[in-house]
């Protein structure tokens, strides 16, 4: 169970600045259980965004958004709505956001912070995708997580050791910054990497914050 909570609305609206039309995706698994991105929250977010003058081209709530095959299947009937949107807002944990970034060629915004795995991990078998850092940065990294997948957790681009798409620390590890650059280049959005990402708030992570988190 990945425990997540919605980011403050102002932060989400900041991400959507410049985008007129949005497609919404939620998850019936963990995000519905924690009230961060189930049917109810997707409907609420749809209303909120419309009040703020955005067009919501459509929405879908996938049973398990961390399952790439299932997500691809569930998005198929919404192809036109997704195509009509400037970007996608995903209300779930970091694993779900990264699934969407992987299966859809569109800018993806994270709408939640992932706080904890609650003792378990998402359904992404070959590698870690979300370290539940509590301060999601996927907005600035093309929907691929450098906290989980870069050996130095770099937020402002690749280090000098990225070569041939591999990480210098271990050639069996793909360089996530190469993947981020490739993904954003494909979307024609390398401009997203020009922004200076400021130091991260580690006080909300399990690594640097309190060792045990309690949720009501």
């Amino acid at each position: 169970m990945l425990i997540s909570e919605q980011k403050p609305l102002q932060e989400i609206l900041g991400y959507l600045d410049g985008d007129k039309s949005i497609f919404l995706i939620g998850c019936k698994g963990c995000a519905e259980g924690w009230g961060s991105g189930g049917e109810k929250q997707i409907t609420e977010m749809k209303n909120t965004l419309q009040e703020k003058g955005k067009t919501v081209t459509g929405s879908v709530v996938v049973d398990m958004l961390c399952d790439a095959a299932l997500t691809r299947l569930k998005l198929r009937p919404h192809k036109k709505e997704v195509a009509a949107a400037d970007s996608i807002l995903v209300l779930t944990d970091g694993a779900g956001v990264q699934t969407v970034a992987e299966v859809v060629d569109k800018v993806v915004h994270p709408g939640c912070n992932t706080l904890s795995a609650g003792g378990a991990h998402a359904e992404w078998k070959e590698s870690e995708r979300c370290l539940e850092c509590g301060d999601c940065v996927l907005e600035f990294t093309g929907g691929l997580c450098p906290i989980a997948r870069c050996s130095k957790h770099l937020l402002n681009g690749p280090c000098g050791g990225s070569q041939g798409g591999k990480c210098e620390v271990d050639p069996s590890i793909p360089c996530v910054w190469q993947q981020i650059v490739d993904h954003l280049a494909k979307l024609g959005r390398l401009d997203k990497l020009e922004r200076l990402v400021t130091p991260k708030n580690w006080s909300v992570s399990l690594i640097s914050g309190p060792p045990v988190k309690r949720y009501s």
């Binding site: 770099l154 000098g160 798409g165």
Partner: protein, 309 residues
């Protein structure tokens, strides 16, 4: 002038700059620093002192810098994010400036996996670009990273590194621009052996007007042996050693290889000097410091200007 840095004065005077590099010992012996500093004095405008390069435990950069300064060098303290969080970094910045250091090179740092303590916990609270901005804000805004204001600010000429040869190549100029926007005053590059690729990178930088906003120093280094060239070519991530470089060293008698390596370094200095926007060289003759005087002289870069620091 933002600082009392000799390097800043040289660069501001539009003189082609020469910086050197000094590796501290894996011991508490100050004589190693003094010996190396004596060799470099008069041949470099400032001298980097590495901060646990390749993640091997060595004397702290700031401490070795203090000794180098006593010997008359203008040291560049190297500061990595690998071993310090934002609290420790800022404390060191204050201390370094208070000790009279004028320059700091902001680095992310070599990963701990490569060193002699691979089980260490890497910190990486900030990345190098965030470090540059933090030091800039401390110097120019008198602000700590948290936003609080300090009474007396540090005066440091701020450097950053860039590797024109690493992947993804297309993002390298953007990343350089970001470092400059964050507040870097000068840039030192990875060692250049592939001059064509370096020239291509410099063109990308010029197209963005970056060479007008920051001083770019091209990294150069003599090669001692064919084995060293091959090692750098195949084993060091982010290094680009062309086949022609290896072939040139292989093409001379064995006892002439190190001489040829020095000649090659001088040739590269002469080539990068011709590239528009290159403000100087960063000569890295690690554990081969005694070659520096001859290289600087043969490249026609003597005498070095004298400023009061």
């Amino acid at each position: 002038m933002k600082t009392r840095s000799n390097l800043e004065q040289v660069l501001e005077s539009k003189i082609f700059a020469v910086t050197g590099e000094l590796g501290p010992p894996q011991s508490a012996d100050p004589e190693v620093i003094r010996r190396k500093a004596k060799i470099l004095k008069g041949y470099v405008d400032a001298c980097n002192v590495t901060d646990g390069q390749t993640a091997v435990v060595r004397m702290a950069s700031w401490a070795a810098c203090l000794i180098a300064k006593e010997e008359g060098l203008d040291p560049i303290v190297q500061m990595t994010c690998r071993d310090r969080n934002r609290i420790a970094l800022q404390m060191d910045v204050l201390g370094i400036s208070a000790l009279g250091m004028n320059n700091m090179l902001c680095l992310t740092g070599d990963h701990q996996k490569f060193g002699n303590h691979p089980a260490a916990k890497g910190v990486y609270d900030l990345d190098s670009i965030q470090l540059v901005r933090m030091v800039r804000d401390m110097r120019d805004e008198k602000k700590f990273q948290c936003g609080e204001v300090m009474a007396v600010e540090p005066h440091l000429f701020i450097g950053a590194a860039e590797n024109p040869f690493a992947d993804p190549f297309e993002i390298r100029a953007t990343r350089l621009a970001k470092k400059v926007a964050a507040g870097a005053d000068f840039i030192q590059t990875q060692i250049v052996y592939n001059v064509d690729k370096f020239a291509e990178w410099m063109k990308m930088a010029r197209d963005k007007g970056i060479h007008e906003r920051v001083k770019i120093l091209a990294g150069v280094a003599p090669i001692k042996s064919v084995g060293a060239a091959k090692y750098m070519k195949t084993r060091v991530p982010g290094m680009d050693v062309p086949d022609s470089t290896v072939a040139r060293l292989q093409g001379v008698p064995k006892d002439q290889v190190s001489k040829e390596g020095i000649k090659l370094c001088i040739d590269i200095i002469n080539q990068v000097r011709e590239i528009e926007g290159v403000a100087g060289i960063h000569l890295m003759a690690i554990e081969w410091e005694e070659t520096v005087p001859a290289i600087v002289e043969a490249a026609g870069l003597l005498p070095r200007p004298k400023f009061i620091i």
